[in-house]
Symmetry: D2
């Protein structure tokens, strides 16, 4: 049975704003990464540990829709869902909402593969079966 | 007849690398922006001037595919194409290639609307017909 | 009597690392800013509120000494001290320590003035006496 | 006799601005790095090559004074001077000026050591005498 994971909580920093007086759109891609790292912690597969084990998770693609601006010092909640996982590739979906307003600000997705230190693809099911299972139980479809 | 515009030339900076020893994926979104600003210069509609006129071009969505890593100090060429333009919305396509290798590194797209200083949508055809024409002649379909 | 304020807690993000596999030195300047904003919250003078009141706090100078590298996912504590305050200018000192190791990683300082929305200097004692007092009681000398 | 090196030319990017509508102060530290890398190219010691040879140049300290803001799309010239060099340590001075206005915007300095891949200090004079000489002839005192 899937556990309900808490969203990642984040405050928008001053240096992330731009002269439109809102958070620059490139930063949400970074917030996705922060939330993804936090998610891996929460499912018991901390990214720093995975890297030590020789597993990198490069990004193959991202997309991001900007629905409503986030402003300086605003607190947001980032919800993370693994919506595809094969042990060779993985897809993560993100939603960023205003913590107090509940307004949906940003929606996006990142696609990944699993790779070794030289960025060669690896197959978790064959090479790291325990880690494969660790991921698989959190797949939401 | 459409003029052939030169691609935007860029070197990868040290602070843009990450511990995978390649350019962090979030930075390409920023290179798209640099290339877009350069493109607007080249088509005679510099963004700083547009903002003075009261025209902002917020980003509605981006997507980005990472095909091959860019490393520190590597020179890349960013090709920019306006593939949709209605005066209300605009779509820009990007390709980042290694300057010496010719290898396709990154491919992406950004979608925009036109807005006034308070981020309210505007219609270029009605409100700024000259600027509308300035854009339209560079539309590539 | 001065209250002991809690340090600002922060985890190092993946996108903040560089190809030396440690946090890029420019990011600590940003962590100083985050810690400064957090400090202003803690002393009851949130920066977003100050800006609404018409008070900006631009940076006049920073310096930063790098003693020991911070790595990805490491947790750090940033201690903030206001070591000079005249109502016209302000100096803030920072120390970044490893949260578990206690090792001093980075030491620095930022100097500021107070300015209005057009970046003209202002004098807090004359123009905003309550805010002047709010700052002054946290001066540590 | 010392050759006069050309300054590094740079345009301020949109994503480098903040909600004060000027370039965020942390970015000048990054421009210093860009200018330093460009300088090393110009004196015939490209940083990527140095790293391949096993020589890293970590930053020990930076300081930066903000005299006048740089705005979006403004072109600046960064002048770089090596003001101290012992083969163990090095100091670089920077000045950022508006390209058309000539106004001094930012002044700063970075201090460095030379290190191997594991960040252990090295002595260029003993370990890399040719590279030592390559640096030394550009020392300006």
């Amino acid at each position: 049975m899937k556990q309900e994971l808490q969203p990642y909580i984040r405050k928008a920093h001053y240096y992330e704003t731009d002269r439109m007086r809102v958070i620059h759109h490139s930063n949400y891609i970074r917030w996705f990464e922060e939330a993804r790292v936090d998610y891996l912690d929460k499912i018991g597969l901390p990214y720093a540990k995975l890297e030590e084990t020789g597993i990198l998770i490069p990004v193959l693609a991202v997309n991001c829709e900007y629905l409503s601006p986030v402003i300086f010092d605003e607190q947001v909640l980032v919800t993370v869902k693994m919506t595809n996982f094969t042990g060779v590739k993985m897809t993560i979906d993100y939603e960023i909402k205003g913590a107090s307003s509940g307004i949906l600000k940003v929606r996006g997705q990142s696609r990944h593969c699993f790779a070794d230190a030289s960025l060669k693809p690896i197959r978790l099911k064959r090479d790291f079966p325990d880690i494969y299972s660790g991921f698989e139980r959190f797949l939401e479809v």
